[in-house]
């Protein structure tokens, strides 16, 4: 038996605490089977092919397949009551085949794809801007409401929600650590930036067919190119992708039809993540919640034409004519929104909003700007007709991403 001195006992206690932390800190206590096995599979219930998914920890039949890719006639339960046979026309079944215990074998990547991470607090700057999904029960629900797509950063997926009624339609696996999503103007394709592993080795740009909810291509980025910001030109031909890793930051110009990188703009400010095109697509405004300035890039020459002295800009919005740009800044507390004349680049107005404005969107008719404020969980409405700002009480914790249903 070893007789330990007090100092050794203290050290041993420290080691024990540390080991306990190593074992338990990886616990993600809100994690369910739904988190671990998102997606769908097909099983036989009463000899009928049934589409299943996890609802928390419960395997649940999906009563209506909103995505429309499950066709019971493609499946045969007559030969094996426990496992349906796929007889569809496609080469491989669109869903996994499994018993009711859950999808076997090949679920999607777990959150810990990167070095294993333990969260102390909600990461403030851990790579923004997944859209905020409105809560269920929207009072003016209409069947024409558009779907909402959400990137699930830790899970490496994109979830498609129906907004009327509010339903989780489908979960689409994409490359590691997705951040932002944007649609081509014709609505046929969604592009998703993925940061890649957390060592910063390189990410990808994923192309999703919106009609089938299938990934059509994963465009791998060069080494240490970690996509974050994303903007698509009004004609749908070009995507601009911000390479977040700095130094070495850049903006990649992607030809959407061929899905290739055509040009890289290198002389840009660090951490490009908030990227917005002017309505005519002639200018790309680039900000960053970590940045010291905001870039204005001419998309014809792909050069920086102006650097605005607006620090820590989380998002940028334009009016419908592109004559004014509204840039958020989290530099001060409370934060501010700067109204910038896009012809002269002069700041014409400054609006005080909540703490750490993260996203800004222009409403119809250029009358209101909606700003969500990350730190205090408030929403600020800027009434441009009267130059008045109304900031709400806190509505929740750390909202990131806002969108209007159209």
């Amino acid at each position: 038996m070893i007789r330990l001195t007090t100092s050794t006992k203290l050290m041993a206690f420290g080691v024990a605490l540390s080991l306990g932390w190593v074992v338990l800190a990886a616990c993600e206590c809100d994690e369910t089977k739904e988190d671990n096995y998102p997606g769908f599979w097909v099983t036989c219930i009463d000899n009928k092919p049934t589409l299943m998914t996890y609802n928390n920890n419960d395997a649940t039949p999906v009563t209506s397949d909103a995505a429309g890719s499950f066709n019971p006639s493609d499946w045969d339960c007559s030969k094996d009551a426990n496992s349906p046979q796929y007889k569809g026309s496609a080469d491989s079944p669109p869903f996994q085949i499994s018993g009711p215990s859950g999808p076997g074998g090949s679920a999607r990547p777990h959150a810990a794809s990167g070095t294993t991470y333990y969260t102390i607090l909600e990461p403030l700057l851990s790579l923004p801007f997944t859209p905020f999904v409105p809560p269920p029960g929207t009072p003016t629900c209409q069947s024409t409401f558009a779907d909402v797509f959400r990137t699930n950063h830790n899970e490496g997926t994109v979830t498609r929600f129906g907004t009327c009624p509010f339903t989780d339609k489908v979960t689409i696996p994409v490359f590691q650590n997705p951040l932002q999503i944007a649609f081509t103007p014709d609505g046929t394709r969604a592009l998703v930036t993925s940061f890649g592993d957390l060592e910063g080795d390189g990410g990808a740009l994923t192309f999703i067919n919106v009609a089938t909810n299938q990934v059509t291509n994963t465009l791998m980025m060069p080494y240490q190119v970690t996509p974050n910001g994303l903007a698509i030109s009004p004609d749908g031909s070009t995507a601009y992708v911000g390479n977040f890793t700095s130094p070495g930051q850049s903006i990649l110009v992607i030809d959407i039809p061929t899905q290739t990188i055509t040009t890289t703009i290198n002389n840009v400010l660090p951490y490009p993540s908030a990227m917005t095109l002017s309505p005519d697509g002639s200018q790309l405004w680039v900000g960053s919640p970590l940045g010291a300035e905001t870039d204005v890039i001419d998309t014809a020459t792909l050069t920086t034409v102006f650097r605005l002295n607006i620090q820590r800009s989380g998002d940028i919005a334009f009016n419908s004519t592109g004559t004014m740009a509204y840039v958020t800044s989290a530099l001060n507390v409370p934060g501010q929104v700067y109204a910038v004349d896009t012809a002269t680049y002069k700041i014409l107005s400054t609006y005080t909003v909540g703490n750490t404005p993260a996203d800004i969107k222009m409403s119809y008719g250029d009358q209101f700007l909606v700003v969500n404020n990350y730190f205090d969980g408030t929403i600020s409405i800027i009434d441009l007709r009267q130059d008045v700002v109304n900031t709400s009480q806190s509505l929740g914790t750390n909202p990131i991403g806002i969108a209007f249903l159209r």
Partner: protein
Amino acid sequence: MIPYFPQPVLHLGAFQIHAFGFLAALAVVLGGRVVLLRAHRKGIPAEQMFQFCCWTYLVAMACAVLSKLILDNFPAIFVDPVHAFRTNLGFRSVGGIAGGFVGALLWCRWKRLSLYETIRRVDIVAYATPFAWMIGRLGCTLAHDHRGLFTTSWIGVKFPEGTRYDLGLIEFLFLIFLTIAFYALDRKPRPVGFYFGLYGVVYGGFRIWLDTLHAQPLRFYGGAVGVLVGLSGWAWMWAYQRSHASEAAVSPAVV
């Protein structure tokens, strides 16, 4: 091709234990046990070696976490120091190895141990390292947190984004052989510093090769530093042997 599967999770009521966390802790416990048993065989007081292990582990752990925090978040922390308290924690093994090594040297200095006694203890730890490292890398294998280049090789893992090397898996397989080799080599007495040098050279050399499969341009510094440290260990061992050659037939360095 090797199928991809998510990291196993053990559900214990409100707690969930991921395979990586469990195996990392198991690796520490196993490595500590190998060190203590070996130290006992070498005549080093158990309490002293236990304290040495605890100290080295704590410094290594702190350095692994700090290096991850600082290296990954330096620009953000520079802009906003409070960011350090909001971000995620993780490990950088290179920070842990370097920190543990420096911590071990500092402890020996604090205890006024000679260079010979210092190398003796470090050598014991080096002998135990493959045993523990192997278990730790098994955790990496299950967590799939070291993805390499895309490949069509039989050892590729079918990740959702395509088949690529799983570097954790490859290193785990390598460490199985290294552990067996260390165990076999230990059947004969070896000079002090032998395992320290061997581990540095062999593991460092392996890492140089392994990094060619990484999704990055070639970077050899990590493995190269290991090789250089290992060679310096062997150089010390050789110099010590020569300077004590005229002493007893069986050098005290061979214990």
